[in-house]
Each structure stands twice: as C-alpha cells, then as structure tokens.
C-alpha cells in the first residue's frame, strides 16, 4: 500500500494543526513555551509533507543534499539579521 504513508502523514499534519490552533485559542500555555511548540509542530508538519507527499517515497541522495544545503544557507542570514537588531542605539563595546 503505497498510499498508506501519505495518508498517515496527512492525518498527523492535520492533528498537529489542530493542536497548534487550539493551544493558541485556549491560551493555557506559557507564551514562550507555546511559541516553541507551535514552531516545532510546523517543522514536523513540513518534514512530513517533504518526505511523504512530495516524494511518495524516500528522497534520492542528490535531492536530499540540495535540500539540506538550501536550509543551511539560510541559517547565517537569520543570525545576521537577528544580530543587526540593535535599535535604537549601537553601543560601542568597551572592556
């Protein structure tokens, strides 16, 4: 049953979406914990779609390599932008 993988993945993705939304609507969690959980759920959903829906099989090593490279390249950009948030003042460093 080739369809089993995508169907299970789909069910988990929807369950995670329901979890994310209800956690936010109910607002029972500590905000920081919730942000972490919501993001973690999104990454899990994205991985499931990547593995089971885009391929319907496992990725070839080349495609995997390209994907990992693409994600790696973004990390420095995120870091650099975050380190540039110093409004309104850049304080000179002193020891």
């Amino acid at each position: 049953m080739a369809e089993l993988g995508p169907v299970i993945a789909f069910a988990v993705v929807v369950a995670l979406a329901l979890f994310q939304a209800s956690a936010v609507i109910l607002g029972v969690l500590d905000p920081q914990l919730m942000t972490g959980l919501v993001l973690a759920a999104s990454f899990a959903q994205a991985s499931l779609v990547y593995v089971f829906m885009m391929h319907a099989r496992y990725a070839s090593k080349g495609v995997l390599l390209l994907t990992i490279t693409a994600l790696l390249l973004l990390i420095p950009l995120f870091l650099a932008l975050l380190y540039s948030v110093e409004l309104p003042i850049h304080v000179p460093r002193s020891r």
């Binding site: 080739a2 369809e3 995508p6 169907v7 789909f10 993705v13 929807v14 979406a17 329901l18 994310q20 939304a21 936010v24 609507i25 942000t35 919501v38 993001l39 759920a41 999104s42 959903q45 994205a46 779609v49 990547y50 089971f52 829906m53 885009m54 391929h55 319907a56 070839s60 090593k61 080349g62 495609v63 390599l65 390209l66 994907t67 490279t69 693409a70 994600l71 390249l73 973004l74 420095p76 950009l77 995120f78 650099a80 932008l81 975050l82 380190y83 540039s84 948030v85 110093e86 409004l87 309104p88 850049h90 460093r93």
Partner: protein, 794 residues
C-alpha cells in the same frame, strides 16, 4: 556568425530558425551576441562618466545623467553582460564537454535566452521613460530607492526588468543543473569534466540560490513602490533589511561572475602547457568550499552600518578565509605548467593576464576584509579598483581568453594570432592604466559626478586615458572577430592540439546539430575517449521538431507587458495576449507530443540516479525557491524583533487574522496535498479514473483555499487594513500573496493535467507531469505551514 548546427538541408529560412531555435549551440551564439552588445552599451556609458570625471568640477554630465549612467553601467555589466557571457559559452560548450546532444530542456533553454533579451529591452527602455531610469546605484540602497525619494517610473521599470532577468536565469540554472547531473556520457564522472564545465556547475549551484535570494528583496521593493507596502520605509524594516537581503545575494553574485572565466583559464593553461591540471580534486574541493563560503561573507559590505561588532568580526574572518580556496586554485594552475611545453598563444596570453590581474584583485580584497582598514577604504575608488580587478580582470579577461580559445570551434575560422597578441598588449595596458590608479584614490568617494579636491585631478585624468585605451582594446577585439569571420582561414577540428583533453576538439568545427557524428562519446578510467556507435539512427531526422516558436513569443509578450505596464496600457493587453497564446500553444504541443527531446538513456547520473530529468528539474526549482521564501521569512523575524524596540505593537493572535479561517485553510491545503500525491500514485499504477478524480479534488480544494484567502483579504480591506497600514500587514499581504500566486499557477496548470490524464497521457507513469505537480504542490503546502503560525498563531 556561423549557424552552428543549422546547416541541415531543406530547413526553414535562417531568420525563423534563429528565432525559433532550441539548439544549445544556437542559443549560445544568441547569448554571446546579445551580451557583447550590452557590454558595448554599458561600456559607452562608462566612457561618458569617465570623461566627466577626468577633471575636477567638470560639466559634461550633470548629476542626474551621471547617476543614471553609473547605475545602468553597474546593473548591466554585472547582470546583463558578465553572467550571460559565461552562460553563452556554457550553453555552447557544456553540453559538448559532458557528452550530451543538447540541454535537458531545449525549449526552456530558448526561453531563458528570450526572457533575458526581453528583460534587457525593458531595462534599456526604462532609460527613455519620463523622469529617466533608476539612478540609485546598482545596489539600490533604501530608502533612496523608495517612491518618496525616487518617484520616477523608469525605476520601477528597472525593478520589473530585474525580476524578468531573475526568472530567465532561474530557468537556465535549473536546466543546467539537470543537464550537467543527468546527461553526462558514460565514464564522465563529475570530476572528469573539464574545468570550464566543472566551474559552470559550481556557478550554477550558486546561481540556484543567489538569484531567487535577490528576488526576495526585489519583490519587497516592487510592492513598496507599486502597492505602498512599508518594508523599507518603516523603522521595523528599513535600510538594513534591504542591505542584508541584497548583499546576501550580492556577494555570491561576485563569484558567479568570476568562476566561469577563472575555470576557463585553467583549461587554457592545461592545454597550452600540455599537462593535466595539477591536483584537480583539490581544485574542485576549493571551488565547492568557495561556493559555500560565498554565502557567509556578505556583511563585509555593511561594515560601516553599525551592525554588531561580533558580527563584523565574524564576517571579517570568513571574508579573509575565502581567499584561501582561490589561492589554492591559482597555485594549482601555475603548478600545472611545471614540466610542461608551454605554447604562448593569444588565449594563453589572456589566460595568464587574467590570472595576474586576479591575483592583484585578490590581494586588494584582503585589505577590504579588515574591519579596521575598511573604515578608510569603504565607499572609495579603492573599492572600485578592487572589484574591477577581480570581475573585469579575473572574470571578463578570462572569458575573453575563452572566446579566443573556443572561437575556431564555434565558427570554423581561425583568427589572426598577430592581431590577437597586439590586442593583448592594448588590453593589459588599458586595463592597468584604468584600474590601478584607482587604488591611489583611496580618499575619493565613488559615485560622485564631480569633485572639488584638486589633488584628485591628475590621477583621474590618467584613469580616463586608461578607460579610452581599454575601450580601444575592445574595439580591436571586435575587429579581430569580424576579420576572422570574413577573412579567417578555415579552422581544423583541433587547432590547439587539445583532443585528448576535452571532447569538443574531437568533433568538426563547427559541430553538427547533435554534436557527435562518430557516436556517443565514452570515457575509459584511464581517460581514453571512444565512441559508441548508434545503429543507423541518424540524429538529423530529429531536426525539424527542434524548432519551437513559443519561447520567442513568450519573450515578445513579456517585453510588451514590461514596457506597456509603465508606458502604454494597450501594449500590456497585447503582450498579455501573446503571453497567454504562447503558453497555450506550448501546452498544446505537449499534449500532442510534438516536441521530442533527444536524450541518451546511458550515461553518468550521480547523485540523481533515482530521479528523472523532469522531477529533478522541479526539485531544483522548488529547492531554489527556498532562497526566495527563506529571506522574506527572515525579514519577518527581523521586523518582529525590531518592533520590540521601536514600540510597534505586533497584532496578537486572532486579533486581525481569524485563527479558525487559517486553520480551515491549513486543513484544505493539506488535504489537497494528499489528493495530489494520491493522483501521482494512481497515475503510476495506470488507474486513470482515480487519477482524474484525485486531480479534480485537488483543483476543487485549491480553488476553495484561494476563495477563503480572497475573502480574508476582502475583509481586511473592509476594515481598513491595507498593504501599507503597518509592517505586519505588509508582510502578511506579500507573503500570503506570493503563496497564493504560486497556488494560482498550480490551479491554472491543473485543468491541463486533468485533460491529459483523462486522455491517458499519464498512464503507468509514462509522462512526468503529475509527479512534477505533486512536488510543486508539496512545496506550496510547506510554505503555508510556516505562514499559518507566523501570522495567525504567534
């Protein structure tokens, strides 16, 4: 110019065959002619402002004209000249060097070219738009380039032209990556490729992410200018958002310009010295390391912008380190010559010259990488001198060497060696007279139309004299090429005695349409070339289906849209009609299976043995798009982090965007992802009914998603939340807009897929359309899975 492969008997007339060609060699020639034409345009612009700068307080060009000329010079030389010049030679020679009959997607190859030409036409037309073209310098700093400070319509036109160019290059990149990875001849492992092809592969791996990464800030700029979003005018986004996103593309771009020329130089050196490249694996590793490093050096362009000290120090180190792989490459090239028998030919002279200039450019680059020295050098003529040494010296001079080297093969004609050597001398004298003195002006600001400091005068005069000498070298170059075409003696197949080194010297000059008249090339582990003969099937019988009018008509359409959008609305309508007609015609050809691609089943495909050309093409495209969406998301994070400091209150979850609707759309879209996947699986099994059903479900769900999205936008507008309300609404509209337009594109393709599936076109997985669609649709799903939490939940 020779017609390369077009010399088949009884073919259509030459004009039609040039306009509708899909043959990689013809496309290469088109690229070459066009990029050299743009080189002349951008070069003449440079001469006008060099004339203006020859003396202090000169009045030949006013500040307006100067700024436009300088901006166009920069944009054209980088994006419309150097990158495509590499693409020209790569189009012609990479398929031959890897042992392929053509590119993986010949029509897309033609499309890349025609979109490139169309983008160039729109960009040049912007010069004549009321108020003139972009005048903000090629790196388009904000907020100078915002509507408030630069309202001219030509600026928006230039931004549109850039988007077209990026689309063209992205299509080309996908094509080259699939071609180089999957169309190699038997025995042609990656490392066995000649350096030029190897370099072009590295270049394309950079291009794959660099150009989409440029599209990200550019889209934000276009929406700022046309729709009134506030990415670059608000305190939360602002100038630094542009600077980061732009240079994130901008620095990798530098290596895109350099590598093709540098690697061609390596081949020429090996051939002239009759020696295999020294430590070729190390050269390849160095190239890969440099390609990756090119992504972590960009902030050295922003050393003076007051970003975090630790961040600057980190980029200081990464920038210095990137000179190490290039040092390895340069030294490997020199060691290649040890023990050789060096013949000093024109290409070899240019190759050595290019290497020498690149060494100087590399050395001056180390100065700029120092956070402390950068304080004195940033924004001065020193920097102008430095990057011209690397790009014009390392990149373009290397490509001149490559044009000389490949010329006899492309045209079947020899050029005059004597004139070539004279050209070399004029080129080097002009170059050094032009760019070396710039280093002495390390106190003079760049991009000023004039200057008052008298002491800068004499050096500037020398530079201007150098500029005209260098221009004369180019005139001589073109004269030599025309002379060779008109009077040159017939070239042998192997003028450089390079047959053992690379495939192109084993076939006729110019090569026949499908490159290899002796059979399929194959390479033994000891480097011997042999030919696998095909039984009777003459490649020329594929000739006629190899013309396709649609890429050309797409280009006519986009040019008309591009110019019309800003200057005359009726033209836009006409362009849109041509565009739609071309797409429909293309799809119809496909449905009727009219266009056959000639691809050998055997050959090297590592590491993509398990994919097919089409699925790999789609994978490459969507993985490239990560670099379009990723930077916009990182911009969103930046703006949100900034808003904590500027006091802007980001809307709380549920406050503006109803969580329930977002959740509903998430479920709808995920379901459509599932149905798309099921359609693919059903089509592979040959279950036609289920395929059609699943595709129809996908279409319905896609439309439902778009409907809900439209409703949300409508509601927001009704509540007065528009593109420009604040930074949060800007990001929401643009990110969901980009996502929705991707979805719309998929929805528009679906009826075609359903029709073809209904006719049995995908039974048993015989065509890749649905697989490609499933990959694309999955990517669109993933993007939404991040948009949903970003705007609805957090």
């Amino acid at each position: 110019m020779s017609h390369g492969g077009n010399e088949h008997v009884g073919g259509p007339n030459p004009l039609i065959s040039w306009l509708f060609t899909t043959n990689h060699k013809n496309v290469g020639v088109l690229y070459l002619v066009t990029s050299l034409y743009f080189l002349v345009v951008a070069g003449v612009l440079a001469l006008t402002f060099r004339l203006q700068l020859s003396e202090p307080n000169n009045v030949i060009l006013g500040p307006d004209a100067y700024n436009r000329a300088m901006t166009l010079h920069g944009l054209f030389m980088l994006l419309w000249v150097t990158t495509p010049l590499g693409a020209a030679l790569a189009n012609y020679f990479v398929p031959i060097q890897i042992g392929a009959k053509d590119m993986a997607f010949p029509r897309l190859n033609a499309l890349s070219y025609w979109l490139y030409l169309s983008s160039g036409i729109v960009a040049l037309s912007s010069f004549f738009a009321p108020g003139g073209t972009a005048d903000w310098g090629w790196y388009t700093y904000q907020p100078l380039a915002s509507l408030r400070y630069s309202p001219q319509i030509g600026g928006s036109m230039m931004a549109f032209a850039l988007l077209l160019l990026l689309a063209s290059t992205t299509v080309g990149t996908v094509n080259f990556i699939v071609t180089i990875f999957r169309l190699r001849a038997p025995g042609m492992k990656i490392l066995n490729l000649p350096l030029f092809s190897l370099g072009w592969l590295a270049t394309n791996l950079i291009l794959l992410w660099a150009f989409p990464a440029f599209m990200a800030p550019l889209i934000l700029l276009v929406t700022d200018r046309l729709l009134g979003t506030v990415f670059y005018t608000s305190a939360e986004g602002g100038p630094l958002l542009w600077a980061h996103l732009f240079w994130f593309f901008g620095h990798p771009e530098v290596y895109i310009l350099l590598i093709p020329g540098l690697m061609a130089v390596g081949d020429i050196i090996a051939v002239s010295g009759r020696r295999a490249v020294y430590a070729k694996p190390a050269v390849w590793v160095a190239l890969l390391v440099a390609s990756f490093q090119s992504w972590v050096v960009w902030a050295h362009h922003m050393f003076q912008s007051g970003i975090h000290t630790g961040l600057r120090e980190a980029f200081n180190i990464t920038t210095e380190l990137i000179s190490i792989p290039f040092a390895v490459i340069v030294i490997a090239f020199l060691l290649t010559l040890v023990g050789g028998r060096i013949r000093i030919t024109t290409p070899m002279l240019f190759a050595l010259g290019s290497l020498a200039l690149f060494i100087i450019g590399g050395a001056s680059g180390v100065f700029n990488s120092s956070v402390a020295l950068n304080i004195g050098l940033h924004g001065t003529f020193w920097v102008v001198g430095h990057f011209h040494y690397t790009i014009v010296g390392g990149g373009i001079t290397g490509l001149v060497a490559a044009i000389y080297y490949f010329w006899p093969k492309m045209t079947g004609r020899l050029f005059s060696e004597t004139l070539g050597k004279i050209h070399f001398v004029v080129h080097m004298v002009g170059f050094n007279l032009l760019y070396f003195p710039m280093h002495m002006l390390f106190d003079m600001p760049r991009r000023v139309y004039t200057y008052v400091v008298e002491a800068w005068g004499p050096v500037n005069m020398v530079i201007t004299i150098g500029a005209f000498t260098f221009a004369a070298a180019w005139a001589l170059f073109f004269a030599i090429l025309f002379h060779s075409l008109a009077r040159g003696s017939k070239a042998p197949d192997d003028p450089w005695d390079a047959a053992p080194y690379s495939l192109e010297w084993n076939i006729p000059s110019p090569p026949p349409e499908f490159n290899f008249p002796h059979g399929i090339p194959s390479l033994s582990p000891t480097g011997k070339i042999s030919w696998i003969t095909t039984n009777g099937a003459s490649p020329s019988e594929h000739s006629h289906p190899h013309l396709s009018p649609w890429p050309f008509i797409v280009s006519v359409g986009t040019s008309l849209i591009g110019v019309g959008l800003f200057m005359s609305p009726p033209m836009t309508v006409l362009g849109l009609a041509a565009f739609v007609a071309a797409i429909v015609g293309w799809a119809y050809d496909d449905l009727k299976d009219r266009f056959k691609v000639v691809i050998e089943a055997i050959g090297e495909k590592w590491p993509f043995e398990r994919d097919n050309n089409f699925s790999l093409g789609m994978w490459t495209l969507v993985i490239g798009e990560v670099a379009l969406v990723g930077p916009i998301f990182s911009g969103y994070v930046f703006a949100r982090a900034n808003s904590l400091l500027t006091g802007f209150r980001w809307p709380a979850p549920g406050e503006v965007h109803p969580i329930e609707l977002g959740l509903l759309n998430t479920i709808i879209l995920t379901t459509s992802g599932l149905t798309a996947t099921l359609a693919y699986l059903a089509s592979k099994k040959g279950e036609r009914g289920r395929t059609v059903l699943s595709l129809t479900a996908t279409l319905a769900l896609g439309l439902a998603f778009l409907g809900i999205k439209a409703f949300e936008w409508w509601e927001l507008h009704a509540h007065g939340i528009t593109f420009g309300t604040d930074i949060a609404s800007s990001f929401y509209y643009v990110l969901t807009g980009i996502h929705a337009s991707h979805l719309l594109a998929g929805v528009l393709v679906l009826p075609y897929l359903i029709l073809k599936a209904h006719k049995g076109g995908y039974d048993g997985g015989k065509a890749p359309g649905i697989e490609m669609f499933a990959i694309y649709w999955g990517f669109v799903d993933i993007v939404w899975l991040f948009i949903f939490p970003s705007f609805y939940l957090l």
